[in-house]
Amino acid sequence: MSAPERRTVLSVRRLTKEYVTHERRGALAATLKSLFVRKKITVRAVNNVSFDVAQGDIVGLIGENGAGKSTIIKILTGVLFPTGGEVKVLDFVPYRDRSRYVAHIGAVFGQKSQLIWDIPPMDAFRLNKAIYAIPDSAYAERLERMTALLGLERVVGRPVRTLSLGERMKCEFVMAMLHRPRMVFLDEPTIGVDLLAKENIHAFIREMNRDGVTFILTTHDLEDIEQLAHRVVILNKGEKVFEDELAVLKRYLGDKKTIRVTTKGPLPPAGEFLRPGVALFESVSEKEVVLEVNGAILPMSEFLARLWEFGQVQNISIQEIGIAEVIKAIYQEHA
């Protein structure tokens, strides 16, 4: 997955962003007073965050509401100036070189549509063709490929207001990628989208990624992360608390797995299973139990051998610990 020779296309160094807001009060006297003296409140939305992204990566930015994800995306897309630190994307400083830089990137915001409500997506695509000066032949070729990949052939000619949310979101992807950006930012790209459309979008992103497009993805949907991300950056209250490969995140709590065991006859008393490295996760019934096995203490092969000795086993399913559990644990460590 990670080839060492790939070059860094995005680097964030000690990035900090502070917002200044004013205290507001409702009462008339306070409002009048606030015309003259206003109490300033400084909020640090991003605090000293650094990370790198290599070409061709898909990096997931994870964090709770207010963790600073959107602020970072805004800075990376050149929309917002940082308070401190350095950002370099595709050899540009986004906020300084904005008007040239943004021609090389794409962005999909799940909550902010770039399509035009009363007219078909096709017209909005043509608008982008003019804005990004895409040559006719390249435009036709890319449009055909993307609409085919996303199954949009019969959608792009209908007014946006008549489209389903999933169809609209797919069109947002076409809109964001027609000019063949090398770097694409996705902010909650599958919010509210149904299962099939989501799968389709995931496949599309993977396909574009094979072409060498780098993706930065923020989402609350961990399925997006598990399906797409190679690397993960976790933010908590404006600070980076984790950055590594997805596989490393999965092993973060140790080499733990949950194992669901169903037996033919009644299970022996719990003590029979509970030895160092094995913990009872849930006792479902007298014939079914969920255990958590720590591979670092008790190797999986040894555990399975012992289970086999018991001889009554009807079915076993082994699962990795969900990343939701891992992320929760990481938040708690930094609370």
Binding site: L28, W117, D118, R161
Partner: protein, 333 residues
């Protein structure tokens, strides 16, 4: 969308405006409606529980009215509070009205340099006319039409069908609150400017009748606008219709110029139309004489005519509302 900024010279009328096709407008107005809607709901729930307290029929009726007034005041107060957040916007009116008045003073001073009277109107009377119409419009304007069509179009109107209070009364209470704010933050500052900077004399010839006429005009503006809003029960978009009526009103009401300047035949027609009661009549009552076309009458008489027209408009509006509501509930919009 309301093309009003270009439609009327008298642009001290506040209009919610749609920015582009598709997107709904004035989010602030939307929010306001729902917030005061809740106030109304709370207030009217209170009404139901205490109605049974009254003993005799008369007592019940009296209690009913008292409660209704309480409901109206509650809605008005909450509307006032919501809009008070936007009172800096009123500063716009305090600038716009006097600017309009100033241009009129300049135009008419120039025109009157060659004559003493135009159609029997002296320069002073002409300037007073513009001052009064501008000030009265601060008191009477509303956008009940925009509000109602928005409620119907977005389906929010459903919540009002379920309430024990007629939506018209609700909307009227909102206007009371909104215009109280207008009185304090638009009318009074503008009045001070008119009196102290433009030296306009505030001396209605028959003050009592003038107040009644303004009150009737207040109700008339509301009733007409509300009825236009009702059209949304039938039409998907009422922008076109609303702009036609706005256009007609601006010409025919006397808000742009005294109707006496129009050709006689037109004046005679306008006498029978309701438009004059929203601007021309109150201003004429202020000056103490009323005439339009060949019709000339005393102040008490024209105020009576105004009252009859206002009552008729209310009845017609109610009929329209009932037809519309039948359509609304039948279609299950």
């Amino acid at each position: 969308m309301s093309p009003s900024p270009n439609l009327s010279e008298n642009s001290n009328v506040e209009t919610p405006r749609r920015v582009s096709a598709g997107a709904a407008t004035g989010a602030d107005t939307d929010a306001n409606t729902s917030a005061s809607a809740n106030a109304g709901a709370v207030a009217s729930t209170g009404a139901d529980t205490s109605t049974s307290v009254g003993a005799g029929v008369v007592a019940v009726a009296a209690a009913g009215i008292r409660i209704k007034i309480r409901v109206i005041l509650a809605i008005a107060a909450s509307t006032y509070k919501e809009w008070a957040a936007y009172r800096t916007h009123s500063l716009v009116s305090v600038f716009v009205g006097p600017a309009y008045f100033l241009t009129q003073i300049c135009i008419w001073r120039a025109v009157y340099s060659g004559t003493d009277s135009i159609r029997g109107i002296s320069l002073d009377a002409m300037i007073t006319y513009y001052g009064v119409t501008t000030l009265v419009s601060y008191l009477t304007m509303d956008f009940a039409d925009w509000n109602l069509q928005m409620l119907i179009r977005t389906g929010k109107f459903t919540t009002f069908v379920l309430r024990p209070i007629h939506h018209r009364l609700f909307a009227f209470a909102q206007k009371l609150g909104h215009r109280t704010l207008g009185l304090l933050f638009e009318f009074l500052p503008a009045l001070l400017i008119f009196v102290f900077i433009f030296h306009m004399e505030i001396a209605p010839v028959r003050g009592g009748y003038f107040l009644v006429s303004v009150a009737l005009s207040y109700i008339m503006v509301f009733t007409v606008n509300y009825s236009i809003g009702i059209a949304a029960f039938w039409l998907v978009r009422t922008d076109g219709l609303r702009s036609v009526i706005k256009l007609l009103t601006s010409v025919c009401s006397g808000a742009l110029f005294p109707l006496l300047l129009l050709p006689d035949a037109l004046q005679r027609i306008l006498f029978f139309l309701p438009f004059q009661f929203t601007a021309y009549v109150p201003s004429m009552v202020y000056t103490g004489t009323y005439r339009l076309g060949t019709f000339s009458m005393g102040i008490p008489q024209i105020v009576c005519v105004q009252a009859v027209y206002t009552a008729t408009a209310l009845v017609l509006s109610e009929l329209l509302y009932r037809f519309g509501l039948k359509r609304f509930t039948a279609a299950g919009v």
